[in-house]
C-alpha cells in the first residue's frame, strides 16, 4: 500500500493527492472564515478564536503542500464501486436517525434491516423478515429490558 502511494501518476486527470490537497485548502479557508467572529486574543491571553484559526491555517498549509507535491495515481484509478451500496446504506442510516426517536428503536431497526437485507442484498423476504424482527426484538430485550440501556419507544410503547 505504501509502495503504490509512491508511484507517479498514471492515466489522465488530476492525481489523488492534488484533489485531496485542494479539498483541505478549501476546508481550511472556509473554517478560518467561519471563525472570524471569535476573538483571537493575545499570546498571553488566547481567545476563543486562536486555536481554531491557527489549526485551520495549518490545515490549509498542509493541503497546499500536498496539492503541490501531487503524488498518487489518477483519481479514477481505484474505482468507486462502493457508491451504489454506499448510497443505500447512507439512506438507511439517515432514516434510522430521523425515525429513531419517533418510531422507537424496534420499529426503526426492523425497517432498516428489512430494507438492507431484503431490498439491497436481495436475500429473500422470508429471511429478511425473520432476521429483522428477530434482531430488533431480541436486541431490545437484551439491552433495554434486561440491561436497562435507555432506548426510545415508538407509538403504543413499541
Amino acid at each position: 500500500m505504501t509502495l503504490s502511494a509512491e508511484t507517479p501518476a498514471s492515466g489522465a486527470g488530476p492525481t489523488r493527492d492534488r484533489i485531496a490537497g485542494v479539498g483541505l485548502v478549501a476546508f481550511g479557508l472556509f473554517a478560518v472564515w467561519e471563525a472570524r467572529a471569535l476573538p483571537f486574543g493575545s499570546l498571553g491571553n488566547p481567545g476563543a478564536g486562536m486555536f481554531p484559526v491557527a489549526l485551520a491555517l495549518m490545515l490549509a498549509a498542509l493541503g497546499l503542500l500536498l496539492a503541490l507535491k501531487g503524488g498518487g495515481p489518477a483519481l479514477g484509478a481505484r474505482g468507486w464501486k462502493e457508491a451504489r451500496p454506499g448510497l443505500a446504506i447512507f439512506a438507511a442510516l439517515a432514516f434510522a436517525a430521523l425515525a429513531l426517536e419517533t418510531l422507537g428503536y424496534r420499529l426503526t431497526v426492523t425497517a432498516v434491516l428489512l430494507f438492507l437485507i431484503g431490498a439491497v442484498e436481495r436475500k429473500g423476504w422470508r429471511a429478511a423478515v425473520l432476521v429483522a424482527f428477530g434482531f430488533a426484538f431480541v436486541s431490545h430485550a437484551l439491552f433495554a429490558d434486561f440491561l436497562r440501556v435507555p432506548l426510545p419507544r415508538g407509538p403504543f410503547g413499541i
Binding site: A97, L98, E101, P150, P155, F156, G157
Partner: protein, 330 residues
C-alpha cells in the same frame, strides 16, 4: 441539517398523532409512564436527587417514573428538551440553579437561546445547599478577613477554581468578590470534580464548593473552610461563620434543585404533580436517600418556589452581567 429538522418535526407530528390517538379516549393523568429529564450525567447532584425522587413519585402516581439523562452544554440540552416537550405532564424536569444562568449566558453572546425561562413552570423546590468557601490547609488565611486583606494587598493574584465559566461555583465566588471589593484570578475547570482536584493539588488557592464533597477533606485536615454562603451556619460545620454574619449582606448563594414542567402544562395536571412531589418528598425512603447524600431537603411548593426562583434568577442574571464577556475585560 435544517431540512433534516423539518422532516424530523413532520415525522414527529405524525408520531404524536399516532401516539395521541388513544389519549383522546383517556380520562385521568397519569395513564402511562412519566419521564423525568435529568440534564446532567448519572452520578451528578441532579441525578442523585432525581432518582430517589422518581422512585418515591412512582409509589404515589402508581405509574413508572423513568429518569432520562439528557446531557450536554452544561445542562442546556436537557433543559431545552424539557422546555420544548409536549406539555401534558408526562415530561418533567429535574433542574439545578444553572437553569437561570444558561439563558443569561446565551443573551450575553447574542445567540439563539436554547430555551426561555418562561417556557418552564416550577412545581417544587427539592433541596438547597449553601456553598462553602474552602482553601488548602497550608494557606495562611484563617478567616475571611485574612483572605480579604491579602487579596486587597495583591489584587488579581489569589486564584480560585470553578466548575466552569458562569457556572454556579463561579457565580458564588464572584458574588463574594464583588461584596468584598476584591479582585481574584479565575481558573475555570470542566466540572466540580476537576475544580476540587486542582484545589487539593494546590494549583489554585480557593474554591466555592457544595458542602457534601468538602467535609471529608476538611475533617482530614487537607482543606479549611472560611465561610458559608447560607443564611445560617451548616450543622456539620458549626464553627464556620456565614458571610451574612461577617457583614457581607448580599452574599448569599445556594445550589438548589427543583422540579419543573413545560409552561403550557394544564393546571389540573400540574396540581396532581405538585401533590405527588409533596408526598414523595415527605416519604421515609426519600428522606433516607437525602440523609445519605448529606443534602438537606428544602421543600417549597410551586407558589413559594416561584418567588424563590425569581429572586435567585434575578441575582444570577446580575452576576452574569457583572462578569460580562471575558475578552472585553482584559
Amino acid at each position: 441539517m435544517t431540512i433534516a429538522k423539518h422532516v424530523l418535526s413532520a415525522l414527529g407530528a405524525l408520531a404524536l398523532l399516532v401516539a395521541g390517538w388513544p389519549a383522546l379516549a383517556q380520562e385521568k393523568f397519569p395513564a402511562h409512564p412519566v419521564t423525568m429529564v435529568v440534564p446532567f450525567p448519572p452520578g451528578g447532584v441532579a441525578d442523585q436527587t432525581g432518582r430517589p425522587l422518581a422512585a418515591a413519585m412512582e409509589k404515589v402516581l402508581k405509574q413508572p417514573v423513568i429518569v432520562s439523562n439528557k446531557v450536554g452544554a452544561g445542562g442546556a440540552v436537557g433543559m431545552a428538551a424539557a422546555a420544548n416537550a409536549k406539555p401534558d405532564g408526562y415530561t418533567i424536569l429535574m433542574a439545578l440553579s444553572s437553569i437561570s444562568i444558561i439563558p443569561e449566558a446565551d443573551k450575553l453572546f447574542d445567540r439563539k437561546p436554547a430555551y426561555q425561562m418562561d417556557q418552564l413552570a416550577p412545581i417544587a423546590l427539592i433541596s438547597s445547599d449553601p456553598t462553602v468557601l474552602v482553601v488548602p490547609a497550608e494557606m495562611p488565611w484563617k478567616t475571611v478577613a485574612d483572605f480579604v486583606a491579602d487579596a486587597k494587598k495583591r489584587p488579581g493574584e489569589i486564584s480560585f477554581s470553578s466548575s466552569g465559566l458562569y457556572g454556579t461555583l463561579h457565580m458564588a465566588m464572584e458574588m463574594f468578590a464583588h461584596g468584598a471589593g476584591i479582585k481574584l484570578r479565575h481558573v475555570p475547570f470542566n466540572g466540580a470534580g476537576p475544580a476540587m482536584t486542582a484545589l487539593l493539588g494546590g494549583h489554585v488557592n480557593a474554591l466555592a464548593s457544595g458542602p457534601g464533597v468538602v467535609i471529608p477533606q476538611i475533617k482530614a485536615g487537607k482543606l479549611r473552610a472560611l465561610a458559608g454562603w447560607g443564611d445560617k451556619r451548616l450543622p456539620v460545620l458549626p464553627d464556620v461563620p456565614t458571610f451574612k454574619e461577617l457583614g457581607f449582606k448580599d452574599v448569599e448563594f445556594y445550589i438548589w434543585s427543583g422540579v419543573f414542567v413545560p409552561a403550557a402544562t394544564p393546571a389540573e395536571v400540574r396540581k396532581t404533580l405538585r401533590e405527588t412531589v409533596k408526598q414523595a418528598v415527605a416519604s421515609a425512603e426519600f428522606k433516607d436517600a437525602m440523609t445519605k447524600l448529606e443534602t438537606p431537603i428544602a421543600y417549597l411548593d410551586a407558589p413559594e418556589f416561584k418567588k424563590f426562583w425569581d429572586k435567585d434568577a434575578a441575582m444570577l442574571a446580575a452576576a452574569v452581567k457583572k462578569v460580562g464577556r471575558i475578552e472585553e475585560k482584559k
